[in-house]
Symmetry: C2
Subunit: 209 residues, 2 copies
């Protein structure tokens, strides 16, 4: 399985959204030019990104939208289901448990963990909440590969250590805290605060003019 | 007000987290070396990023942690409060309304909008939910600068148009849908699906070996 560049991977979901728009509009085929206009990206880049799918850009008509969408989902492994568990059932964690968009993208959250006695034993959006102390057993017995971290930043490293110990292979970290894990563990960050930092500063710079 | 590079801005919140850790551990000063170890970044980069704060790195002792934290918050405009409104009170939108981490970072959500009659007129985590049709009036009368989009992707552009029309200056888009707005409007994305794409693919590549 070829290694696809990170920058391409990050743009693939955007192409999927554009293709969904085209489908809703009744289209069956789309040229690279048309996709590039809607994705607001350069045509050459779009062609290069989509070349990883192996789907042909047919002269005159373009890509077959259904085939191209399938191929992108296959590349992203979104057609398969990956089981995950989530640690930290606060506002953000609870929201992610109910976020149906994940299931359309190959991600199922099968268990949640927290240290709040009031939450342990409950079910949130259909997902059972266990004590964090039970992580190790639960993950191993259910073949869970992905761990999602939605605890306060200061607890992120501890949770990451527990996850690695429980045998997960990839960590999706929603805190701004960098975590240190063995090199074979895959780590991805959703860093809202990095994004908020850029937004706030640009707004302040703008107002100062 | 100097324009700070985006890459530096994105790292500043991470330094803040490291400095908070140091404060909890009872430290008052920290060297660039120490910060670089905890942030997992190269020392040269850390020194360069922190030079934007104007705080001195004193030989032998390092930066004063309290002063450095304040200076970073000032750079990010997180010591001031920016009023925002949020459109799309689904799982993610509701979670963000209750996300206390924002208020520590200068962002207050003062109003929410949805098109679901069951939600309009209610209050979620203390924030009143209005009909989307009321956006224009609400935003203008309350001096709101930031609009947060948490609707399904296919509605993102429509909401962005409404926001621009209502006079907001910056859009924080939580959907993977690229939005087209006048060039003076600041737009930042929190793209969970781009991050999930990288995570899923790397996991599949790893399993294939």
């Amino acid at each position: 399985m070829d290694r696809i560049p990170t920058s391409t991977l990050k743009r693939l979901p955007q192409y999927l959204e554009v293709l969904k728009q085209f489908t809703r509009a009744g289209l069956r085929e789309a040229s690279a030019t048309k996709i590039s206009v809607f994705a607001d990206l350069h045509q050459t880049l779009v062609r290069k990104d989509l070349s990883y799918t192996g789907i042909n850009n047919v002269p005159q008509s373009g890509y077959n939208i259904r085939k191209l969408s399938r191929a992108i989902e296959d590349l992203l492994n979104w057609s398969d289901t990956s089981s995950s568990y989530l640690v930290g059932v606060g506002h953000l964690g609870s929201a992610l448990l109910g976020y149906q968009e994940f299931s359309q993208r190959g991600l199922t959250i099968v268990g949640a963990f927290d240290n709040d006695p009031a939450k342990i034993g409950t079910t949130i959006h259909g997902v059972p909440v266990h004590s964090v102390l039970e992580i190790t057993g639960e993950a191993a017995s259910k073949g869970i590969q992905i761990g999602i971290i939605t605890v306060p930043p200061e607890s992120a490293q501890l949770v990451a250590d527990l996850m690695v110990h429980s045998g997960i292979k990839a960590i999706w970290n929603f805190t701004p805290q960098k975590i240190h894990v063995p090199s074979e563990i895959i780590v991805e960050y959703v860093d809202m605060f990095a994004s908020l930092a850029v937004l706030s500063r640009r707004l302040a710079e703008r107002d100062a003019h």
